[in-house]
Amino acid sequence: MSEEKPLTRRWLLLAVGAAFNGIVGVALAVPVVGYLLSPIRKKSAYSQWISLGSLSQFPEGQTRLADFVNPFKKPQDGETAKTPCWVRRLSADKFQVFAINCAHLGCPVRWFPQSELFMCPCHGGVYYANGDRASGPPERGLFTYDYKLVSGELHINAGQMPTLADQAKLVTIDGKGKSPCLG
């Protein structure tokens, strides 16, 4: 059909007009893609050292629940800015800080000091006291946070919800501070 139509001046103007719209549209849309993708950041941009408070709350040989406020908190986060974690104190200066999230699907694991197990309420993932996988669907042990001791306080490097996508980061420890015990 279009072959029969001669390329008149008006058709040419229409084509140019359409192309002009396209160019302006693309010029506007490309930066918007950047806007949409802006939440994607490097891991390091989403983690920061935060204090869990005085060491005295963590008796040696026990595992206790601690919580911290996310360093990247925004006002609209409300209660969700709070994050709990499990702190296991092995000796005076040796710790393990476990993320609350099960390595299976991120549900909150609970520590049972009597049987020395972490249990997950969702699909029954179970971990030993040192974070190793004991049974159930998780592929690996609990996620751990790096930690350091600063003037009688326990600091952890946190800020992002731990998921399996962090595995690479968790395996290569960047020699900073005390190396976390690998779960």
């Binding site: 008796p59 026990q62 595992t63 206790r64 629940l65 000091p113 009597q114």
Partner: protein, 238 residues
């Protein structure tokens, strides 16, 4: 096609408006889940945290009967609170307070203690009776304790280091003694387990209630039967 539908829903809405607040689906005040650390209701707290071992109504449980009026009469609130907060060392009773790694707040522990007292403590339970105290600092005499055992306990309880089958009722089994503290033994001997037919201090041998010294001595004798490596070795295949 939706006009009729909306007419229908309007009719239903009118019906609801006329029925007022009797709708079964209407959420009642406070229907949303209370934060677990703000639950102060004794029945709820007890049935979530205590009923597993101590039984549904404080009796018929695997562990000590809390609804036993004699037990409640000899134990004081401070002791109850301390046991809930920190657990009972030498037994399987765990610590429940957040300060000791448990899940309950101090208020919740207080709610449990006051709930138990108001339900199960009767001031006249042991009135006028010479009941041995809950705690003692006295040293027991194990030899005398064995005599008391023979006269007061042996009609039901047997002795033996390692019991060979589940039915035998040895009270000096190494594993049993390893899982119970002297204080708990003392509490059971004095208060008994009325819910499962275990007599208290006065009725083990009718007419001869046990004295404070008798109880202390029996406990001392049982303690002397404790083993260094109880429960070992496991029975293994030949």
């Amino acid at each position: 096609m939706n006009v009729r539908g909306f007419c229908g829903s309007i009719l239903v809405l009118c019906g609801i408006a006329s029925l007022g607040c009797n709708a079964p689906g209407k959420p009642t005040a406070g229907a949303e889940a209370v934060r677990p650390d703000e639950v102060k209701n004794f029945s709820k707290l007890y049935s979530q945290n205590c009923a597993g071992c101590h039984g549904a109504d404080g009796q018929h449980g695997a562990a000590l009967a809390l609804a036993n009026p004699v037990y409640q009469a000899i134990v004081d609130e401070g002791t109850l609170r301390n046991v809930i907060v920190n657990g009972e060392p030498g037994t399987l009773m765990p610590a429940f307070a957040q300060s000791a790694g448990g899940m309950l707040t101090d208020d919740q522990v207080n709610a449990l203690v006051s709930g138990m007292r108001s339900r199960w403590y009767h001031a006249d339970a042991v009135q006028g009776l010479d009941v041995p105290p809950f705690k003692t600092d006295k040293q027991g005499d194990a030899a005398h304790g064995q005599q008391v055992f023979t006269s007061h306990c042996a009609s039901c309880h047997t002795t033996g280091v390692q019991q060979q089958n589940a039915k035998a009722s040895s009270i000096t089994d190494g594993s049993y003694l390893a899982l119970i503290s002297d204080q708990s033994l003392r509490a059971i001997i004095i208060a008994g387990r009325p819910d499962i037919g275990h007599p208290d201090w006065r009725s083990a041998q009718p007419g001869h209630p046990m004295s404070d010294q008798d109880v202390t001595d029996v406990v001392a004798w049982m303690a002397s039967q404790r083993q260094k490596t109880p429960g070992q070795p496991y029975p293994s295949q030949p």
